[in-house]
Symmetry: C2
Subunit: 211 residues, 2 copies
């Protein structure tokens, strides 16, 4: 199986690296980082670049599509090269997936109409304007479409899909290998759990603020 | 504050990206990926390269040192350029940290003698041969030395250290921003929780197998 992880200028690194480090350990698979152009692609902080080893055009029919999100997603909503590629790749993919605001790109390409889907908690409501059904869960599967919530949720999505494809035992082995036994020092990882004033501060500053 | 994330050929991507995505959001900080040479550095799977923007020599005195681990750690134990750099950087650092088998590099540089430290669960016992005190916890702090267990534990370490430096509220905000509300589909992330036969299979195949 070929797994294409789609990145673009100012994507969020962990969006891509979470699925890479889990789903990418699918036996017999090839994972490839793809972007419109080959070469280094800078993340949202500007402090990290990952290499796109192949262009979108060079990887037209991956078995699994993984689309990252991040602040750079907004300008990509107008990028017809990317949106066309997503439609073409989706036509033959076995699974079409996203992390964080990557789901807005899938939705913008018209792929999530009538589908339950999630996104970063600040952005999930915007899926509705593309005909998707916003679903505030960490990993949402609807047919072959698997979307994950913000940033770190791609790890959970990667393990979930890995289990679906390669079996529970293989996925459990990968979880053990990457020692994914989370022990966050705070319980502040979702708007339902974080201090309310922090949630409001993010909402008031977000480009996704719903008026 | 300058945060130097040290990578090398065949490091594990998430080891580096976990702290980058959390600790790297320290206000007023500069995060830089460093390696012996500038340019793309391939991870353990061969399917991903991240760019080292600066050489070790160009970043002699970071405030925070973060050393990744991964299969490529073993040959680095003989790399005097890296070990010397670690000793020099540690002499002036505020915090010296590692993820996964990165702690073996700190230990190999002589920096963890008499210190409690952790590592990937398959490797943690080997810290003893360098005079450290192996401690099977997810994040271990001893003085200015903060070590994390395998791969994904760098996220928890990053948030922990971020809270220490920037305060709990800032760290909680970063946890919310990266939506770190883990919901793994299995409970198999540590040798104490995973199916025993999987643990044994890893132990029997590991280069770190303790005889």
């Amino acid at each position: 199986m070929q797994i294409a992880i789609v990145v673009f200028d100012r994507f969020t690194a962990l969006d891509a690296v979470g699925p890479y480090e889990t789903l990418g350990r699918l036996p017999g698979s090839e994972t490839v980082f793809v972007a419109e152009r080959r070469g280094p692609v800078r993340t949202d902080t500007g402090n990290l670049a990952v290499t796109a080893d192949r262009t979108l055009a060079e990887v037209p029919h991956p078995d699994i599509v993984v689309v990252a999100g991040g602040p750079g997603q907004t300008p990509q909503m107008e990028n017809e090269v990317l949106l066309d590629w997503l439609r073409t790749a989706d036509a033959t993919s076995t699974w079409t997936t996203s992390v964080c605001t990557g789901s807005l790109l899938l939705a913008g390409a018209g792929l999530l109409r009538g589908r339950r889907a999630t996104s970063h908690w600040l952005a999930v409501g915007h899926l509705e304007s593309f005909g998707a059904v916003p679903t505030a869960e960490r990993v949402v599967t609807d047919g072959k479409y698997v979307t994950a919530a913000g940033v770190s949720a791609g790890i959970d999505m990667g393990l979930t899909l890995l289990g679906r494809i390669a079996g529970d035992e293989h996925a459990q082995g990968v979880q053990l290998a990457v020692e994914y036994d989370p022990q966050p020092p705070y319980d502040s990882g979702s708007p339902r759990k974080a201090p309310a004033h922090l949630v409001e501060r993010f909402r008031s500053r977000s480009r996704f603020a719903l008026s």
